[in-house]
């Protein structure tokens, strides 16, 4: 069938600059560049370009430009190009539209409507270059009080705690969805920065066991790669109930991505589709969750916190309260903008709620119920910079996960082709030719640099507010103000309007 789909991008080559080295041919995993021997000229099939900038970045002479196709539709606010093109695609394929990465729609991003405070006159700001500034965070269940005997000996023994030097962790991305080199980069960067990375639901390659102390291992509905040693090497075990990009939906790793190594790590036959059921079939209710939480605690001899991750949905506050009561030591909320390796587009863009609102209401509810100390809160889904991190902490988060931001540090340009397995940056693929594009030495460096930059910025912001420890910002919503928000939004966020 002839496709009616117009090209998204135009790739232009300055023939004066081009030296015909064919780097672009090798770099474009979508086969858009080729050498035409007859004309002795480099040429481009523009219709397949996804805008990943791989060729532009690696062209040694800067001969390439990628532009949005200026194709103009007649203005129609309802029938915007995206919706027209989606219909064209479905008319041609008859299938569910799949996509990668996170929701790219215009729902309100509350981070952009929150501003932070700084000290002036009545208290001094603190200069992080000259004064200590503490970001150390411990995740895990805390009791309501500490008991001492008369000789000041500690009588309270805490549940397992995990120390983070910076309150930013790498979010779950499974081996299979991303390459082993990406896993190694994340693991090494987390180890260097004193934080944690998350295996996602596809198991942990034995080569990475040595980073176990900085590793969160996931137990998801497919139970891929879950075995005693996997639980044993980890620092934290995370039960994945849901994911912000596709709440209520399972996962599907196509057989082509299940290479020999992936198959061994996931413990499934090579080349078979890895299907994660939508629910965990042993969890149909909160008491079932409690059983799995305690099964995992038993299996790990109560030495590791057990985390439970859900997608932020309408009743998050009530669900989170149940999770804490079911024994979760850490609860993870993944918001509307959480990303994915593959999800139905309609789910990604329409299901779930903004993480800022979910976080605020969960933190408030747990405090109202007097159980906030019993679990740490981690949020994820669209955290873009240290400003977002500071705001999340002030709303009540103990730490955040970053997934997309970490991949951008590795080269990702958000071309949303993760589900195709053709990622030109070698991130979201198991193709060996492509995945070697992520060099773990360089990848780990770039990721650790990112965390270092954010830490320095967080310290600057803390110092500006006149506080020198992160725990004094955590849940301290008086350091936030809203801009351009309605009364109801302010109420849910628990912040005042700027100027108030």
């Amino acid at each position: 069938m002839k496709t009616y789909l117009p090209p998204k991008f135009l790739v232009e080559r300055d023939q004066d600059k081009c030296i015909k080295c064919e780097v672009c041919v090798n770099q474009c995993s979508f086969d858009n560049h080729y050498y035409d021997a007859e004309d002795d000229e480099m040429k481009t099939r523009t219709e397949g370009c996804v805008g990943c900038h791989r060729c532009v970045t690696f062209c040694p002479t800067g001969a390439l430009t990628v532009r949005r196709n200026p194709l103009e539709y007649r203005d129609n606010y309802n029938w915007r190009p995206e919706y027209i093109e989606d219909i064209i695609k479905q008319a041609e394929t008859g299938g569910v539209l799949l996509t990668g990465m996170g929701n790219d729609k215009g729902q309100r991003i509350y981070w952009d409507h929150l501003v932070l405070n700084a000290s002036q006159v009545t208290n001094p700001s603190i200069d992080p270059l000259r004064e200590p500034m503490e970001l150390t965070t411990y995740l895990g269940r805390k009791p309501d009080r500490v008991e001492l005997d008369t000789d000041l000996n500690l009588q309270t023994e805490l549940a397992p705690q995990v120390k983070l030097e910076v309150p930013v962790m790498f979010a779950a991305m499974s081996y299979g969805a991303v390459s082993l080199n990406v896993h190694e980069s994340l693991a090494r960067a987390a180890t260097e920065a004193g934080t944690l990375w998350n295996t996602g639901e596809g198991g942990l390659h034995p080569k990475l066991y040595k980073y176990g102390n900085n590793t969160i291992v996931q137990v998801a509905s497919g139970r891929f790669g879950v075995h005693p040693e996997y639980l044993e090497v980890a620092r934290v075990v995370e039960i994945k109930i849901g994911q912000g990009a596709k709440p209520g939906i399972g996962g599907h790793l196509p057989g082509e991505k299940v290479s020999a190594e992936v198959s061994a790590t996931r413990m499934i036959p090579q080349g078979t589709d890895a299907l994660s059921p939508a629910p965990q079939h042993d969890i149909y209710s909160i008491e079932d969750l409690a059983q799995l939480v305690y099964a995992l605690k038993e299996a790990t001899h109560y030495t590791k916190p057990v985390s439970v991750k859900i997608a932020a949905v309408h009743n998050s506050a009530a669900i989170a309260s149940g999770m804490v009561r079911a024994g979760a030591d850490i609860i993870v909320l993944d918001g509307l903008r959480g990303a994915t390796g593959a999800a139905p587009k309609v789910i990604r863009d329409n299901v779930g709620i903004p993480i800022e609102l979910a976080l605020a209401s969960v933190d408030t509810r747990l405090r109202q119920e007097g159980i906030r100390n019993r679990a740490s809160i981690v949020v994820s889904g669209g955290i873009r910079n240290s400003g977002d991190v500071a705001k999340a902490i002030a709303l009540g988060a103990d730490a955040v996960y970053i997934g997309t931001a970490a991949l951008i540090a590795l080269g990702c340009r958000l071309c949303q082709q993760c589900h195709t397995g053709k990622c030109a940056w070698g991130i979201c693929t198991t193709d060996l030719f492509l995945s070697k594009r992520v060099n773990p030495d360089i990848g780990a460096r770039r990721l650790a640099n990112l965390l270092r930059g954010w830490s320095l910025e967080l310290k600057d912001m803390l110092g500006g507010m006149g506080i020198n420890a992160l725990e004094s910002l955590r849940g301290n919503r008086l350091h936030l103000r809203g801009v351009g928000l309605t009364e109801t939004e302010l109420k849910i966020l628990g912040v005042k309007m700027a100027g108030e």
Partner: protein, 381 residues
């Protein structure tokens, strides 16, 4: 329902912000002394206040009623007084009541009526409840439900005198030179966003806990939310109130000694904790992990007192001043050293404690100069 917040914080700021002078004097041998010196000392720091609040707490004040709860209550109307007195009679056994003596003082205008009551907790209290908890609840009830009344203090054998004016004027008004106590704290206030209100002056008191405070606590938002989980409601919206409730929670309810409480309110740095010997390291780490939300962050100096103890504490990087002086069994704490020297020129020792390092005067460990003072001097940085 009275809206204390409205009175205390009419512009609905995050909290009342103030700067201040603070002073404390304690005879650690328990001998009572007159307030003359303390009044002179706090008056010497006149310029640190702006006349919108001054106050004193005195311990060992009412030996003749030592076993009874002494309530100092201010009234804005006769009706308020009648209502509260009826309430007190209903909830307590009232042993004695009298107006707090005052004298006309030119600078003190429009003073409220201040009375004191000596109360015993009687059979009205539910059996399973502790006396102290019962008293706290009744104080909260008066403060929030009776529009024209406010409880200045509610401890045994102690009392708070405070109001709108410079501290020396308040002292004159309440004739404080005539009283004796073994422990005095004093405060001169410089509020930036709250009008003078008699109830809003320091010391802040609950039971026999008093706090005088200089500073702004930038962690107020989370301190308050943490305390709310334990049933404390910060109706006054001041930093000082947070300190008082935190101390009440930690010392009275969680049974922690003051040295430990100081390590929660001004916790050691993680990097310092890491260098401690194993046992202390675990203790300090646990305290910070559990009570991190009570870390008081931002510039502050507080003098916290209750029967038998006076504690001076600054924030961990000492952004507000505190000087300590010792002479014989006397311990002095002050915003400025000059105020101490004024009333005790021949101090055995004077020093500035390190940030977050508590200075504790205790009847249980009276100072014996010069030995004890020398020991304490080892803290000098």
């Amino acid at each position: 329902m009275k809206e204390l917040e409205r009175i205390q914080n009419p512009y609905n700021d995050d909290k009342a912000i103030d700067a201040c002078s603070i002073f404390g004097a304690m005879d650690t041998s328990g001998k009572r002394f007159s307030g003359k010196g303390v009044i002179r000392a706090i008056a010497n720091m006149h310029d640190r206040g702006n006349g919108l609040g001054g106050g004193f707490a005195i311990y060992g004040l009412y030996p003749e009623y030592a076993d009874l709860y002494a309530f100092h209550i201010m009234y804005l109307s006769q009706k308020g007084k009648e209502d509260v007195e009826a309430f007190l009679k209903e909830k307590f056994r009232l042993t004695h009541a009298e107006e707090v003596p005052t004298q006309p003082t030119p600078k003190i205008t429009n003073p409220p009526l201040v009375w004191r009551y000596f109360l015993e907790v009687g059979p009205q209290k539910p059996e399973e409840e502790a006396d102290d908890d019962y008293v706290v609840e009744r104080v909260m009830e008066i403060n929030t439900k009776f529009p024209d009344a406010f409880v200045f203090s509610s401890g045994k054998d102690m009392g708070v005198f405070k109001g709108v004016g410079y501290p020396e004027e308040i002292a004159e008004y309440f004739c404080l030179e005539q009283y004796e106590g073994y422990l005095w704290t004093a405060h001169g206030r410089f509020p930036t966003n709250t009008p003078g209100w008699w109830g809003g002056a320091h010391p802040f008191c609950i039971l026999d806990w008093t706090v005088v405070h200089n500073g702004e606590i930038s962690s107020y938002g989370i301190n308050r939310r943490y305390l709310e989980q334990f049933g404390y409601h910060c109706t006054m919206q001041t930093d000082t109130e947070v300190v008082a409730y935190a101390v009440d929670l930690l010392m009275r309810k969680h049974n922690l000694p003051i040295e430990i409480v100081a390590k929660i309110l001004a916790s050691p740095l993680w990097s310092d904790i890491q260098r401690l010997p194993q046992r202390e390291q675990t203790l300090m780490r646990t305290l910070r992990q559990v009570y991190g939300s009570l870390l008081l962050n931002g510039p502050f100096t507080v003098i916290i007192a209750h029967h038998g103890e006076m504690i001076g504490l600054t924030d961990r990087i000492r952004l507000r001043p505190l000087t300590v002086g010792a002479k014989g069994s006397m311990l002095y704490l002050s915003s400025e050293e000059s105020a101490i020297r004024l009333i005790c020129p021949d101090l055995d020792e004077a020093w500035i404690p390190a940030g977050g390092e508590p200075v504790v005067g205790s009847l249980k460990a009276p100072l014996k100069t010069p030995v004890a003072a020398k020991e304490m001097v080892s803290h000098v940085d």
